[in-house]
Symmetry: C2
Subunit: 440 residues, 2 copies
Amino acid sequence: MTTITGVRVHDVRFPTSLDASGSDAMNKDGDYSAAYVVLETDGVLSGHGFTFTIGRGNDLCVEAARQRAQPLIGRDVDAILDDLGGVYRELASDSQLRWLGPEKGVVHLAMAAVMNAVWDMAARRAGVPLWRLLVEMSPEELVDAADLRYLSDALTRDEALQILSAGQPHRQQRIGDLQMRGGYPCYTTSAGWLGYSDDKLRALLHEAVADGYRHFKLKVGQDLDEDRRRLRIAREVIGWDAELMIDANQVWDVPQAIDWINALAEFRPLWIEEPTSPDDVLGHAAIRRGVAPIGVASGEHGMNRVLFKQMFQAEALDFCQLDSARLASVNEILSVYLMAHKFGVPVCPHAGGVGLCELVQHLSIFDYVAVSGSLDRRLTEYVDHLHEHFVDPVQVLNGHYVLPSQPGYSAELHPTTIEQYQYPHGTYWLDRSTENVLVV
Amino acid sequence: MTTITGVRVHDVRFPTSLDASGSDAMNKDGDYSAAYVVLETDGVLSGHGFTFTIGRGNDLCVEAARQRAQPLIGRDVDAILDDLGGVYRELASDSQLRWLGPEKGVVHLAMAAVMNAVWDMAARRAGVPLWRLLVEMSPEELVDAADLRYLSDALTRDEALQILSAGQPHRQQRIGDLQMRGGYPCYTTSAGWLGYSDDKLRALLHEAVADGYRHFKLKVGQDLDEDRRRLRIAREVIGWDAELMIDANQVWDVPQAIDWINALAEFRPLWIEEPTSPDDVLGHAAIRRGVAPIGVASGEHGMNRVLFKQMFQAEALDFCQLDSARLASVNEILSVYLMAHKFGVPVCPHAGGVGLCELVQHLSIFDYVAVSGSLDRRLTEYVDHLHEHFVDPVQVLNGHYVLPSQPGYSAELHPTTIEQYQYPHGTYWLDRSTENVLVV
C-alpha cells in the first residue's frame, strides 16, 4: 500500500512584468505565478498541480492549497485515485472553507491546484498522459468523476452519459485523426500584448505567420484610436483571410462594450473576448446580440460551472474559454465540456500564463476524442512563455499542440525553477532585492 | 495632520459549533469568526471593521486584509476620508489581487473588512453613527462614493442621483418616523437552527413571540419529513397570522428546489431563502416562477454588485438579502440599494454571524431615510448571538433595532474579546487545546 505522506506547496513567481509580457487593458504589470502543489507518497509516485495567478496574493492561494490538501495526508493512494469523484466531493464539502466562496476566488483556485495534482497522480499511476487516462475511462466513470451539482436544470446525469456514450465508438479513430493532422490546432496571443511597441507587434506577427499560424489575438480596450492603429497593422501583416481575435480583459460596461466593438467591426474580428465583467451573464448576452456577427468569447475568469451553465442557458457565448486552473480541475471541467456540447458552444480553452498551455492540451484532446468529435470553430490558445520551466513542456508545431506522451498532466516544474523563482526566498528574488538595495 | 500609521488584523474565532448555533443544511459546524481590521493613526482616531467567516480560512481573509490595507499606511487621514470613492477605487484597482476574484471570494471579503474600517473611521471623525454620516451626505457625495462600474445597463449615474434627490427632502421626517416607532423592524432566526431539538425550537419560538416578534425563520432542506414536523411546531406556536420564513442554505438543484418548496406550501412561508447556488441568477428566476406566491430571497452569499444587478434584471428575487461583510462595504452596498429601489425589490439585509447585526442596522436606517422611504415587506434579520463582544452592541426592543447613537459603524470589539478568542493563541483556544490534550 502506498500512502500520501505530505503536501508541499510552493509560491513560484516569474518577473514577467519587467518586459510587459501579459500586459492588457486591465492587467498592466502581472508577474506570472503558480501556487504549486506536490503530493508526496512513501513510494515513487507523486502528484504535481498548480493554480495560476499574476503575483501578489499567490501566497493566499498557497496557504489555501495547504489547507485544502490536508485531508489527503495519510490516505491510501489507491483509495483516493480509484474514486476521483469521491475525493473531489469530500474536499469540496468542507463547509468552513466553502463559506469563503462558495466555489469561487482563492479557495476555489486552491481546489484547482490540489485536484490538478490528484489527477496528475492518477495519470502517472496509470503510466499515461492525462488525456489518455480520460479517453480510456468509461462514460460512467467520467460522469461519476464530474461535478454535476446545481446543473440538473441544464444537464442531467443521463444526458451526460448519452453524450459520452455517443462518442465512445469513435474514440480510437479520433485519436488517429489528431495524430495524422499533427495535433490539436491552436492560435497565438504572443504578439498582441498592449505594452508592446508597434515594431515589436509587427515583427512578432510576421514571425507567427511564418510559424504557420492562421489565427492571431490582440489586446484592445485602452484607447480606441490605438486599437484601430494596432488592428490596421495586424491586418496588414496577416491579411484578410486569416482570423483576428480581440480581447478587452473586462474593461467595459455593457453599453460601452457594444459601441466600442462595433467601432472596430471594420477589422472583422472573429471574436471579442472578455468585453465586460466575467460575472455578467446577461451582459454578455446583451453584448452578443449587439455586436453580431462578431462573436463573444469569455471564460478565463469564469468562476465555476454554475456561471458557465447560465452562460449557455442565456446564449451569451459563441466561444467558451474555460480555464484549467480556475475551475476545480477535471471534475468541474468535465461538466462544462458536457454542457457546452449540449448547448452547441465550442470550447477554446484559455491558456498562456505559466503552465496553462501544458494543462489545456490534455483537455482539448479529450474534448475532441470523447465529447465534441469536431474541430469546427475550435482552437486552443497558445502563448510562448515559460515552457522551459516544465519537465514535460508543450510542443507546438505548425500551429498545433503535439499530443503529449509522458505520463501525467504535464504540470511538473523543474526543481531548479523552484529554487530560483520561489518567492520571496528563491535565488532570483534574493538577487533582485539585493540589486534594488544597491540601486537605492 | 493625522496619519494612518498601521493596520492590525486579528483572526478572532468563537466556538459556536459546540452548541449547534448557526447549524443549517449546508453548514453543520460553523465557528463564527471575524477577520478584524483596526486602522491605527498617530492621533486618537481609529477605524474598526471586519468580514465574517465560519472558521477555517479566516486566516486567509486576515492575510488578504493585511495586503489590501497596505496602501493606506502612511497616508493622511483627511485625504482618505474626504474621498471615500477614490480610496475604494484605488484599493480595488490592484490588478494582481483582482486576478484572484475578480471581486469575489477571499480578496473581496478582505476588501469588505478594510473598507468597513475606513467607513467606521469616517463616521468617528464626524462624531456620528455611520447611518447619520450617510444620511447627511448629499446625493452627489453618495454617488461619488458608490461603485457603479459594470452597472450602467441597469443603473446610470443620473438615475442614481435622481433616486437620492427624490428622497432628500424627506430625510428628516423619516428619521423622526423611525424614532417614533422604536427603530427599524427586524425578524429573528435565533429559534430555527437545524441542530436544535424540537423542545428547544418550541421554547425559543415562545420566547420570541413574547419578545414581540411577528416574523420567524426556520432552517429547512435536510429531510422533508423533518421539515414538515418542525414547520408544524412553528405554526402551532406562532399561529397563522405571523409570518414564517424558511431557509435552505443552497442545498438544492433547481428542479429539486421547486418540488421541495411546493411540498412545504401548506405552511404558507413568506419566503424561501437560498434555495440553490447563490450564483445561479437564472435558477433563482426559475424557482421564483415555480413556487409563487412563495417569495424567493437570497443575497448573503451574493458575491458582488454584478450578481445583484442580474438578479434584479432577471426578476429572480422577491427579497434582496445583501451582506454587509461580503459586499465591499458601503461603496458597493450603496449601488445595490439603488438598483433594488429602481427595480422595486425590498432589501432585507442578512445578519447574524458575528457583528453583522451591528453593521446592518446602519444600512437599513440609511435605506429607509434616503432611498426607499418604505417599510413595506422590509425587515432586517436579527440573531441574538455574540453581541456582548462589541463596544457598541445592537439594542433590539419589541422587534426593532433601536437607532444607534455612538460614533462609528458599531464594529469595535472589546480588547478582552480579542485576547480571549484570537486564534490560535487567544486564552480560550489555548485552554481548549490543553483540554483536548488531556482528554486524549
